[in-house]
């Protein structure tokens, strides 16, 4: 009778199979939890922009306020990307012939807007209001990082739902006085005591909602 039994060498596979079988679920969980996380796949996104505009130069060295260009940020849900005219407020006087600004000048002349590449994208099904945050003590740097040190802007935060909830559940350390809202180099964790930060919660009536319809309207 010819019967199939496992050949002797397969015994050597047994510990391997057991180890793989035991660790594979853990490995899969690890890969999904970290590999597929927006921290891994979305944070650090740094597209090349049509014009090499440097935030490090304009904000960091020249000290321009965020709101000079993104002027709707404290009045509307959406932080406006400035029109070419905003650039030309200065660049009709400064660096008038710079070859780097060629596209800006032609946009100004033709009236065709610059096609900036959006870095911070939220899905359509999530609602976010910049003004609600900016006017109540959440500084620009909390979410966008040290823009004043970025030559080319990259996505500093994962913008994952868990990341939003982290702050909504424990907002105290993220709050600063509205007077310092655009100050990139200022850190409330250093400049303020815990009591002072906690007093901001009452001052700004911070009571962040965590229910689904807060963001998924």
């Amino acid at each position: 009778m010819s019967r199939f039994l496992f050949p002797r060498w397969t015994n050597a596979l047994l510990p391997f199979i057991i180890v793989v079988g035991a660790t594979l679920p853990l490995y899969a969980a690890f890969v999904v939890a970290y590999g597929f996380s927006p921290k891994t796949i979305d944070a650090g996104y740094q597209p090349t922009q049509p014009v090499p505009y440097s935030h490090a130069l304009h904000v960091g060295q020249l000290g321009m306020d965020c709101r000079y260009c993104h002027n709707t940020v404290d009045r509307a849900a959406f932080a406006a990307v400035p029109p070419t005219q905003t650039c030309m407020n200065c660049h009709t006087q400064i660096q008038r012939d710079s070859p780097k600004l060629e596209k800006i000048r032609s946009s100004y002349e033709t009236g065709m807007p610059m096609e900036w590449v959006k870095v911070h994208k939220l899905p359509d099904y999530s609602y976010f209001n910049h003004s609600a945050h900016v006017n109540r003590g959440v500084g620009c740097v909390e979410c966008h990082g040290r823009i004043d040190q970025m030559d080319v802007v990259y996505r500093y935060s994962p913008l994952a739902m868990g990341w939003c909830l982290e702050c909504h559940r424990k907002p105290v350390d993220r709050l600063r006085p509205v007077s310092q809202i655009t100050n990139m180099g200022w850190d409330q964790r250093v400049e303020m005591t815990r009591e002072e930060r906690e007093s901001l919660v009452t001052l700004y009536h911070i009571n962040p909602s965590e229910n689904c319809s807060t963001c998924h309207r």
């Binding site: 199939f4 496992f6 868990g162």
Partner: protein
């Protein structure tokens, strides 16, 4: 009575019902116990009778049934794809009736599975020897039924690609299922049930897979069965560990018979909807599950034993016992129906009373009365032995029970939702062709899996059946060879086994 004669002559002998000749072993003989294996004297004959199904080309009826089931499965695939690409709106669901055919089918299929677990686990622990003839394919039925059941919650969520949200997996949304919801308990109950049933079924099948491996002619069959039987050689140590593992798995599976359908009933009982919010639901659902499951086993066993020539292994006694269980659980279900009405009246709760009167006389009165006539009246016919031992009658009645139990779930789910507290939001559920196609298709999925199982795997637990044969009794006349059930050809040639079994004190249903 001579013990060396044809075993069937022990009892009343042969009798004929409506063209089917059957051996009657339903009577308990005055000495010993009724034979559970007929017309076979040697272990090798059992092996041959079961293995030849997997080894030879199946009968033409198998091909016809397979083509039908496969077409139904294909239609299921079409309906599910259409649903996924279009949305759950293709079903007839509406605002009050947000559960209808989907959850009806889910509960129906989960319920079907329960008979397999009851036969394989509870009857094993209670040493009911007649389980051996039917446990293997009843367990297979369980697994395929749970596969069908698992399909429906998966597709009724609408966004199928988010179905993994059912499980508590750490994720970047920091979002968890609602642990206080019975719907989540259901996910755990059903997935545990599936896992344990699958392991139990597979472990029990290992010795028989080894038998198929040893008999296989083709190289591929030898390898495939060899791989599946994970090196089983039938040594005493193998058997010892197998028996221990099997007993432990039976103990593990036993609470699941009660827990799974209890948790399924919580999906309804934990809510506030009149007609759902009742404490009788867990036992009532479990009884109903076993009722429907046994009906399905009978519906499958009757054609299977006919088609594959297994009448000597799935005997009239097995069928008679199953019909008795159908009668018992049918009475429990009937009691639960009447108790629901009693409590609706006795509670004095106006909504509860309305819900039940509405079931019987409201817009779905026809569904209610189909349910009552199939589930309460049908099984009462099994009081008569002539009905219990009539192959055509038991087949028809078991189909009635299946229909009735499907309607039971439909009545519970749809009538309660369609007419709840607020008359302004009342509506009617009308199934669409996708609803019906998905329901029919699930039967195709079930049938396809079951037919493949019949074709390629040992339909009957060969090793276990041998253990209930007289030859296995060490005190029988040929004691020297007995009890060695690992060896397929160990039966002494020409031996005439004694049918006498001295320890007849053990219970036998």
């Amino acid at each position: 009575m001579s013990s060396s004669s044809d075993p069937s002559s022990k009892s009343a002998g042969k009798f004929s019902t409506k063209g089917f000749t059957e051996t009657d072993n339903t009577q308990q003989p005055t000495t010993g116990r009724a034979p559970l294996v007929l017309n076979m004297h040697k272990f090798g004959e059992v092996t041959h009778q079961v293995c030849r199904v997997a080894e030879n080309r199946p009968p033409m009826a198998w091909y016809i049934a397979f083509v039908i089931c496969l077409s139904m499965l294909g239609f299921l695939g079409f309906c599910v794809t259409y649903l996924i690409f279009t949305g759950v709106g293709v079903w007839g669901l509406n605002n009050p009736v947000m559960w209808a055919y989907d959850i009806t089918n889910f509960v129906f299929w989960v319920g079907i599975g329960h008979a397999g677990t009851l036969i394989s686990a509870i009857l094993f622990l209670f040493r009911q020897k007649w389980r051996t003839g039917i446990n293997r394919f009843a367990e297979a039925m369980t697994i395929f039924a749970v596969v069908c059941a698992g399909l429906f919650p998966g597709i009724h969520v609408g966004r199928v690609w988010l179905a993994y949200w059912l499980f508590p997996i750490p994720n970047s949304m920091e979002m968890w299922p609602q642990f206080r919801s019975p719907l989540l308990w259901d996910v755990f109950a059903v997935s545990t049930y599936f896992t344990v049933s699958l392991v139990f079924w597979y472990v029990g099948m290992i010795p028989d897979l080894a038998t198929l491996r040893d008999r296989a002619k083709g190289r591929f069959q030898q390898f495939a069965y060899g791989l599946a039987s994970i090196g089983w050689r039938g040594s005493m140590r193998h058997w010892h560990r197998y028996e221990v593992a099997y007993l432990l798995l039976a103990a593990l599976a036993t609470p699941l018979v009660l827990s799974v359908h209890s948790v399924v009933s919580f999906d309804f009982a934990v809510s506030q909807v009149p007609g759902w919010h009742t404490t009788i639901f867990p036992p009532y659902f479990v009884a109903g599950a076993i009722f429907s499951g046994f009906a399905m086993v009978v519906s499958l066993a009757v054609p299977a034993r006919q088609l594959f020539g297994l009448k000597d292994l799935i005997t009239m006694r097995h069928l008679d016992n199953m019909n008795k269980i159908i009668l018992l659980t049918g009475c429990m279900v009937g009691y639960a129906y009447s108790m629901e009405f009693f409590i609706a009246w006795y509670s004095g709760a106006m909504y509860e009373k309305f819900a039940f009167v509405n079931r019987a006389f409201g817009q779905y009165w026809w569904a209610y009365w189909i349910m009552v006539s199939c589930n309460v009246i049908t099984p009462q016919l099994f009081w008569f032995k002539a009905v219990r031992t009539s192959i055509p009658l038991m087949f028809i009645l078991s189909i009635f029970v299946n229909v009735g139990m499907w309607f039971e779930r439909f009545v519970i789910i749809v009538t309660s939702l369609a007419n709840d507290f607020l008359p302004s939001s009342w509506d009617q559920f009308v199934p669409t062709w996708v609803d019906i196609g998905t329901m029919v298709g699930a039967f195709g999925l079930f049938g396809t899996l079951f037919l493949l199982f019949c074709r390629y795997l040992p339909m009957i637990a060969i090793a276990e059946v041998k253990a209930v044969m007289p030859e296995a009794n060490p005190h029988a006349e040929h004691a020297g060879h007995a009890g060695h059930h690992g060896d397929d050809h160990g039966a002494p040639s020409g031996a005439i086994p004694a049918l006498r079994e001295p320890r007849s004190a053990e219970s036998s249903l």
